[in-house]
């Protein structure tokens, strides 16, 4: 029996190994870089999705409150929107129940106590880029703050009179001779923008225009 050995191919093996190591390193590096890029992309897409979901949730919440509001005010500088709501639900009851309205001789309708109607304030809080949008309700049953955004981001919040879309000055609405509707616009700065252009914020703009059902 004659055994074939491969000793004579040892030199080639070293070269092969080195080449293989180089190729393997390149492939591994590419995979690592690819994975990192993929993860970055995935995180970016996920963050972007969450931020857009947050926009939608905030706008839905604002729309729900604005429709039923009796009046409100806007401070774009302060990034706040304040609404006065009818005190419809009596939270002192167990379980809380809707109130019956009282009507004055002049036709004014009030739920609960006229001097103690709830207010809701929407505001952007925190430092860039870790901001959240909160809703704070002050009512006879106390003060409650909830965070409406799952994500933290660099949010900008703009409310304006649809008849004056370029106006950014504070204004009130819902009262006599005041605007009967408002537009609320929310943007955020995408975190994983490859080049941090300001234009990338413009692409995130979401807005909703609400008519106050209880406008005087």
């Amino acid at each position: 029996m004659k055994l074939h050995t491969f000793r004579r191919r040892a030199g080639l093996t070293l070269v092969e190994t080195m080449i293989a190591a180089a190729v393997g390193s390149a492939i591994t590096g590419a995979m690592v870089l690819g994975s990192m890029s993929f993860q970055t992309l995935s995180n970016g897409a996920n963050e972007y999705y969450r931020a857009t979901s947050d926009q939608m949730r905030v706008l839905d919440s604002i729309a729900q409150d604005t429709r039923r509001a009796t009046s409100g005010s806007v401070s774009n500088g302060g990034q706040t929107l304040t609404l006065s709501l009818p005190d419809y639900i009596d939270y002192s009851q167990t379980p809380p129940t809707p109130r019956s309205p009282s009507i004055s001789s002049t036709g004014a309708i009030t739920y609960g106590s006229a001097g103690n109607q709830p207010t809701v304030t929407y505001s952007v809080t925190g430092n860039v880029p870790n901001q959240v949008i909160t809703r704070t309700q002050v009512s006879s049953s106390g003060t409650a703050t909830s965070t409406l955004t799952w994500n933290t981001s660099d949010y900008q919040f703009l409310c304006f009179d649809p008849a004056n879309p370029s106006g950014t000055a504070p204004f009130s609405f819902g009262g006599a001779n005041q605007p009967s509707s408002i537009t609320v616009q929310i943007t955020f700065q995408p975190k994983f923008s490859r080049i941090n252009l300001s234009a990338s914020r413009a692409g995130t703009r979401a807005a909703v225009t609400m008519y106050l059902r209880n406008h005087q």
């Binding site: 029996m1 004659k2 055994l3 074939h4 491969f6 993929f38 995935s42 996920n46 999705y49 969450r50 979901s53 947050d54 939608m56 949730r57 839905d60 919440s61 729900q64 429709r67 039923r68 009818p86 419809y88 639900i89 379980p95 809380p96 129940t97 809707p98 019956s100 309205p101 009282s102 009507i103 004055s104 001789s105 002049t106 036709g107 309708i109 739920y111 909830s146 965070t147 409406l148 955004t149 799952w150 006599a176 001779n177 059902r213 209880n214």
Partner: protein
């Protein structure tokens, strides 16, 4: 014997490749599965959020239907209200269809609610994202607290439903970690109807878990307010020239006995800083360019060019346009054959009196025996003149087709409240005119309200008129003053319904 043994190195390399390939595929599959799972979660969330928004549209559609029925109760549109609505039958403890409009109305008068469910064949089909099926349930009632100045207001509660597609779960809707249904913005009924669980409904007690297929449910409440004619101090319907001469117009509130003891007008309580006594709105249908009188309130013109000057305490709006319904003869009228007697006894508030006459020449209306309040309704085909005396406790409404003429002092409303004496000047045939003339003679304060959009109102002397006035043109001398009673905003004939309040039950 020479034997050769080949070691299959290449074969071993092939095995490694297979393992690496499998590992790579597994990794890619895992990544793909994670991405798909995330996408599914996100898509499910977005779909349900859109469905939740659509449920509000269904609720608003239900409220609109309830509102339309409220308007149909006026009877001018020819459509019978409450068709196929249901009432609660206490003998069988079930909800049964009302027999007719009167049956439904009797339920409302008794303080009960009536309900309507959109038939399954009439569901609001949505072709968009989020839901493909929308429907509503409406409840209407009008408890005693919603009777204001004798007019019925309605409370409409409408629940909108949107069928949700996909899994019975909702993702990513609790950003601050809320785990209870109450704390979430969008409340989905994935397994049970949460409104029934909280409040019960027409068929279930509170706390009942009624299983449902996934749906979004939103509930709104709308208060329907009757539209009455006396919401402004003046409505002047003449379309040309300067149809209003009114030296001073202000307001008071006869229900505000703190500022107006006894419900009587006084000028001392008027305060532009607090708004007391400065809520007299004047509407001029003509495109006037200026307003010369003193007005404690707002001026509205239809296409005018008036500007706010020192004699107007409120605002000036030149783009106003209001619809003033024509005044027509009452539905209860009968053929008149004789003038009204000098004394008429009013009916009770629950059973008012009605009379049709050819004319009035001095009339006194007194309370029914044993009553402290009474209501009389009079229809006149001809002229009204002489004088009118309304006894305390009596509310008198007069519809007239002819001219009205008497001295201010002869309008004796002994209630000193303009809601107790209401005049309705019926629109004459096209091409004809009518007049409402008030002569001079120690007039003092006169309390009445007037809805006569086709009448020319002229006044002499210096009376103080307290009430609300709808006329075609108004002319008077320089010392006539007009005081709008803010409490008249809810008084008078119902001509339409309007939304007075809209709230959503966010629970």
């Amino acid at each position: 014997m020479k034997t050769q043994l080949a070691i299959p190195i290449a074969k071993g390399n092939g095995g490694s490749s297979l393992i690496i390939a499998l590992l790579t595929l597994s990794t890619l599959s895992l990544v793909g599965a994670t991405v798909l799972m995330n996408l599914n979660s996100r898509y499910n969330y977005t779909q349900k959020a859109v469905g939740w928004e659509a449920a509000l549209s269904a609720a608003e559609a239900g409220a609109d239907y309830g509102f339309a029925n409220c308007r149909w109760t006026i009877g001018t549109g020819g459509t019978s209200p409450w068709n196929n609505w249901k009432k609660f039958d206490s003998t069988t403890s079930t909800w049964i269809t009302v027999t007719n409009s009167s049956d439904a109305n009797n339920q409302l008068v008794a303080g009960n609610k009536i309900i309507y469910d959109l038939p399954s064949g009439s569901h609001l089909v949505s072709g968009g994202q989020g839901t493909a099926d929308l429907w509503y349930h409406v409840e209407v009632d009008s408890p005693g607290s919603l009777i204001v100045s004798g007019n019925r207001w309605y409370r409409i509660r409408a629940t909108g439903y949107a069928a949700l597609t996909g899994q019975a779960r909702a993702n990513n809707d609790s950003p601050d970690g809320a785990r209870t249904h109450n704390d979430m913005l969008r409340k989905f009924d994935l397994r049970i109807d949460h409104f029934i669980k909280r409040y019960g409904d027409y068929a279930h007690a509170a706390g009942t878990s009624v299983p449902v297929t996934p749906q979004a449910t939103r509930r709104i409440e709308v208060i329907a307010q009757p539209t009455t004619p006396f919401g402004k101090a003046f409505v002047v319907m003449g379309t040309t020239g300067n149809p209003l001469e009114a030296p001073l117009v202000d307001s008071y509130d006869s229900t505000d006995t703190l500022n107006y003891p006894g419900g009587l007008y006084n000028s001392g309580s008027r305060n532009p800083h607090t708004g007391t006594g400065t809520n007299a709105t004047v509407y001029v249908n003509a495109p006037i360019s200026s307003y010369s009188g003193t007005l404690y309130g707002n001026l509205e013109t239809n296409g005018g060019s008036a500007t706010k000057t020192n004699n107007i305490s409120g605002t000036v709006t030149n783009t106003a346009s209001i619809n003033v319904p024509p005044v027509t003869a009452p539905s209860w009228k009968v053929t008149a054959s004789s003038p009204a007697p000098s004394v008429i006894t009013a009916g009770t508030t629950s059973s008012p009196s009605y009379g049709s006459y050819t004319s009035i020449n001095d009339l006194t209306v007194v309370l029914p025996v044993g009553q402290t309040q009474g209501v009389a309704n009079i229809y006149v085909t001809g002229n009204v003149q002489g004088g009118i005396t309304v006894s305390p406790g009596v509310t008198l409404k007069i519809w007239f087709e002819g001219d009205f003429s008497m001295k201010a002092r002869d309008i004796q409303n002994l209630n000193y409240n303009s809601s107790n004496l209401q005049f309705y000047g019926i629109d004459p045939p096209a091409g004809q005119s009518r007049s409402f003339d008030i002569g001079s003679g120690n007039p003092g304060f006169r309390y009445f309200s007037l809805d006569a959009p086709a009448y020319d109102f002229s006044v002499n002397g210096n009376p103080d008129f307290c009430g609300s006035f709808i006329v075609k043109n108004l002319s008077g001398n320089g010392n006539t003053t007009w005081h709008y009673d803010e409490a008249l905003a809810t008084v008078g004939l119902v001509t339409a319904y309007q939304r007075a309040m809209w709230v959503e039950d966010e629970r």
